[in-house]
């Protein structure tokens, strides 16, 4: 079974609000002192792939990223988690390609890497959160697509998976080849790589391509265009309930709550 997992490296989503700034001209957040991390849902996807391999054996896992040269760190961490191979398509053009561009670049790279039975992506990225990569990639690769999956099993003739819905969950059966988007669950919290594996990962080769290598040229703004990016002004002061004793303070809280709910 050949599995491909897409990873995106993003700015640490947990930078303190005070340090978060946007560069409106460039249409992206300022790097500042923030660190770069692998998008958590991509890590959930990789973890799901690794657990699948542990349970059902005989699966080769390749990780792929389309991003700046720094995305190599994300791929090394994936190799340290014991992915088998890694590839990076370096984006030296603009930093925020639209979802269709991303899907097309990934699809081109995937075809160049080989034929895969299962392509896994995170449900959305922690920065732009478009959530379209899975669907568009499936269309580009002419594969079926299932979203918000948190568990995958092998079954005869294909795969069985569980996916989250807003009111519960569903179980689907699907035939490969397939694209899935993965969402977080208590079972796919990404594993911590062993130190030895981290050390080995630095010696493992990573295939690197430029867009020219793929024969792909980005057409800016053909799908959609970012026309404004700003940080909304939001100042609100919290009223902390007062009272000398716990009883008085909770009484105050109860009153405030009732004020709001009785107006409904």
């Amino acid at each position: 079974m050949k599995i491909l997992v897409c990873l995106k490296q993003i700015l640490d989503p947990e930078i303190p609000a005070r340090d978060f700034r946007v560069d409106a001209a460039k249409g992206e957040a300022e790097r500042g002192n923030a660190n770069l991390v692998t998008n958590i849902f991509c890590e959930n996807a990789l973890e799901t792939a690794l657990q699948f391999r542990e349970r059902f054996g005989d699966a080769k896992i390749t990780v792929l990223s389309f991003g700046a040269a720094s995305a190599e760190d994300s791929l090394r961490k994936a190799l340290a988690m014991k992915a088998d191979a890694a590839a990076l398509v370096i984006n030296d053009k603009n930093s925020n390609p639209d979802p269709l561009t991303v899907a097309q670049v990934l699809a081109t790279a995937i075809r160049k890497l080989g034929t895969f039975d299962l392509v896994m992506v995170g449900r959305e990225a922690g920065d732009w959160g478009a959530g379209q990569t899975a669907g568009l990639l499936a269309e580009e690769l002419s594969m079926a697509c299932v979203s918000f999956v948190d568990r995958i099993e092998a079954m005869s003739g294909g795969l069985r998976m569980k996916r989250q819905t807003d009111s519960g969950w569903e179980v689907l059966e699907a035939q490969t080849p397939l694209v899935v988007s993965i969402t977080n669950d208590e079972h796919n919290v990404p594993r911590i790589p062993k130190v030895r594996d981290v050390m080995t990962s630095y010696h493992q080769p990573i295939t690197q391509w430029t867009l020219a290598d793929l024969g792909y040229e980005i057409e800016a703004d053909k799908y959609y265009q970012l026309v404004d990016l700003s940080i909304p002004e939001k100042e609100s002061r919290c009223e902390f309930v007062t009272g000398d004793t716990l009883d008085e303070r909770v009484e105050s809280l109860a009153r405030r709550i009732t004020e709001v709910t009785s107006a409904l």
Partner: protein, 655 residues
């Protein structure tokens, strides 16, 4: 009679003495084999450099193996131990003298030497041995303190020692009685026994002969048995003290060569160093380490004594077998309770290094197995991603400086010092106030200082103590490079963990800086007249020694000076202060862990602090600040006790 001729007949009443020599050889062989076996096992450990600075080492041996200073910290135990050990030294000398005279034709035990040393002093010390054994027995069988290890072996050893001495006196007494020894009065105990033995001469001789052979067999038996029991410590303890760690306790952890090491951390005896293995054989089962362990005191499972003894017992088996979890003491749950306060190492009379072994095992769990408490995992992941362990914080490293004119090191030409803020001082709101106080004091004193601001990364201490040596090295190297890049020579920090890292651990990475705890630097500023505090407040203050400042780096006085200067009220000492200070519970990664509500180290210390009746609990560490505020809040009842950093106290007095 002429005292110059005083002596006694060796082997009086004994025939077939050759049997003794025959029996000696197997006894000696078994004795020697016992040592040989252990030495062979020690040598299977990894290397360690512990033979440098011989004069310093010999001094330690004199102080602690001969004078037994640490043993004597417990006056009762120290007394009986000295009685027994010094007694045996004398008895051994006496026996050697006899052997020399008997086998080598010397004539040492004659005259005054015979009367005053061989008779009188030997009797006195023999009696001391018996008294010592008696005192020991009272403690072991009547008081039954929990810290001791109650084995049959211990009982038999006491019995054997008592019997040997008793027999010695009986032999002496009966000889005196049967031979009408004219010098009997020089052997008071023997003389007394002689007087009390109302037996006929022939009975005396039979009893004497019987007892002599019994005494021989018993002594040779003990000799042979010796290295297979804790009696070994007679030899291993001085050796262990000689090879003890000379650096401050804060420098106790070992470095790892990641390129060369087969296994990261320790999960087998073979992965320990030979010094670690020697430690195991030096243990006397005194239990003091466990008795002072803060985790153990609040009811947790951690027991340094049982870790050492469990590992010692494992030496009988395969040195490659896994040790983590092989006994309850080395179960991961227990290992994760350690705050690395090193009270155990401070207490140990024979200088065993318990804490580094715990960290060695943690390293295995973290780096080889990635199995460690989830809360610590969060801290590690935050360190990897953000350079600080406080996952989820919304603070930046410079929030504390709002409103103050603090400069970045790259903007200051020839700064006197770098103020290293540390993660706690920057990101925990309560500690930001301490950083502000320190900065304001430095400013007032006219010190040209600067900070690294956002370029600071965690010193690596939490990563190192949790066991992720790899991450620690990365952080340490980055920090050393950062400081070198800015040409930093002097560092002042309000966090003892950072202080310890910079002073004791960073030199390994080429980082040699002059490092001061803020209390040291501020005290110096006061003594130089650059700060002129006037104590106006009349509050009584008690100071809680941070483990990483006090016990691990021997800095006790500077913070106390600041307390003295800052308050008119009395300075009160807690019973467990200075090198005996009781941990706040925050070190070793424990501040990230949720402890069971009835087993919280900080609450135990809070009770002690509250019991002093002082108005203020002074601290010198961001972890202590957090843990003690939590602890006091949970325990205080109606009493108000403020927790303040020494810098905050000084600032109040400088306003």
């Amino acid at each position: 009679m002429n005292p110059a001729g005083a002596t006694r007949q060796i082997y009086w009443n004994i025939s077939h003495v050759w049997v003794m020599y025959v029996l000696l050889f197997p006894a000696l062989a078994i004795f020697v084999y016992g040592f040989y076996r252990q030495i062979k096992k020690w040598r299977r450990g990894a290397p360690a450099a512990r033979f440098d600075q011989p004069r310093r080492r010999l001094k330690l041996v004199f102080k602690h193996a001969l004078a037994q200073r640490r043993t004597a910290r417990d006056v009762y135990a120290g007394t009986f131990h000295r009685f027994i050990s010094y007694g045996f030294v004398i008895l051994t000398i006496a026996t050697t003298v006899v052997a020399l005279d008997a086998d080598f034709g010397t004539a040492i035990m004659r005259g005054h030497f015979y009367l005053y040393f061989q008779s009188f002093i030997v009797d006195a010390f023999g009696a001391l041995v018996l008294i010592g054994v008696g005192l020991a027995a009272i403690r072991r069988y009547l008081s039954r303190p929990k810290k001791l290890v109650y084995t049959d072996e211990a009982t038999w050893i006491l019995v054997a020692i008592a019997l040997i001495c008793l027999q010695g006196f009986l032999l002496e007494g009966w000889r005196i009685a049967a031979t009408n020894d004219p010098w009997a009065s020089y052997s008071p105990v023997g003389n007394l026994i002689a007087r009390l033995s109302l037996l006929s001469d022939s009975t005396l001789q039979t009893a004497h002969r019987f007892t002599w052979w019994f005494h021989l067999l018993l002594s040779f038996g003990v000799l042979a048995w010796f290295p297979y029991t804790k009696m070994m410590h007679v030899f291993t303890a001085p050796l262990n003290i000689y090879t003890a760690q000379l650096a401050p306790l804060g420098a106790s952890l070992k470095h790892l060569d990641f390129e060369k090491t087969e296994s990261f951390g320790v999960n087998s005896l073979a992965a320990f160093t030979w010094k670690d293995l020697l430690d195991l054989d030096a243990c006397t089962e005194c239990g003091r380490c466990t008795a002072v362990c803060p985790a153990h005191i609040v009811g947790k499972e951690l027991s340094p004594r049982d870790i050492i003894l469990g590992l010692r017992d494992a030496m009988h088996g395969d040195v490659n077998a896994p040790i983590i979890g092989s006994t309850p003491a080395t179960a991961p749950a227990a290992l994760w309770q350690c705050t690395t306060c090193v009270a155990c190492m401070q207490a140990c009379p024979v200088f065993i290094e318990q804490m580094p072994k715990i960290v060695d095992m943690r390293r295995f769990l973290v780096m080889e197995e990635t199995e460690f408490p989830e809360s610590m995992q969060q801290a590690i992941m935050s360190l990897e991603k953000r350079g600080h362990p406080f996952s989820g914080t919304n603070a930046t490293r410079i929030d504390w400086a709002d409103g103050l004119d603090i400069k970045h090191i790259s903007d200051v030409q020839d700064a006197e010092v770098l103020l290293w803020v540390g993660c706690g001082g920057a990101l925990i709101e309560r500690n930001q106030k301490v950083t502000r106080s320190t900065a304001q004091l430095l400013d007032r004193a006219g010190v040209r200082f600067a900070i690294l601001g956002r370029d600071e990364k965690c010193s690596g201490d939490p990563a190192r103590r949790i066991g992720n040596e790899f991450l620690y090295e990365m952080l340490a190297k980055e920090n050393v490079e950062s400081l070198k890049k800015h040409n930093v020579k002097k560092v002042v920090t309000s966090c003892p963990h950072c202080f310890n890292a910079f002073r004791n651990e960073y030199p390994h990475f080429g980082g040699n800086f002059e490092v001061y705890h803020h209390s040291e630097y501020l005290a110096r500023l006061v003594s130089e007249g650059r700060l002129k505090p006037i104590a106006t407040a009349n509050k009584s203050v008690t100071f809680h020694d941070p483990c990483y400042l006090g016990r691990q780096n021997d800095v006790y006085d500077a913070p106390r000076q600041l307390v003295q200067i800052s308050s008119q009220g009395a300075a009160v000492e807690m019973a467990r202060s200075r090198e005996k200070s009781f941990c706040c519970g925050g070190g070793g990664g424990m501040s990230f862990v949720d402890e069971p509500p009835d087993k919280r180290v900080n609450q135990e210390r809070a009770r002690e602090a509250l019991a002093t009746g002082a108005d203020v609990l002074a601290v010198g560490c961001p972890f202590c600040m957090t843990m003690m505020e939590d602890g006091i809040n949970a325990q205080r009842g109606d009493r108000e006790m403020r927790v303040m950093d020494v810098a905050e106290l000084l600032l109040e007095a400088s306003s």
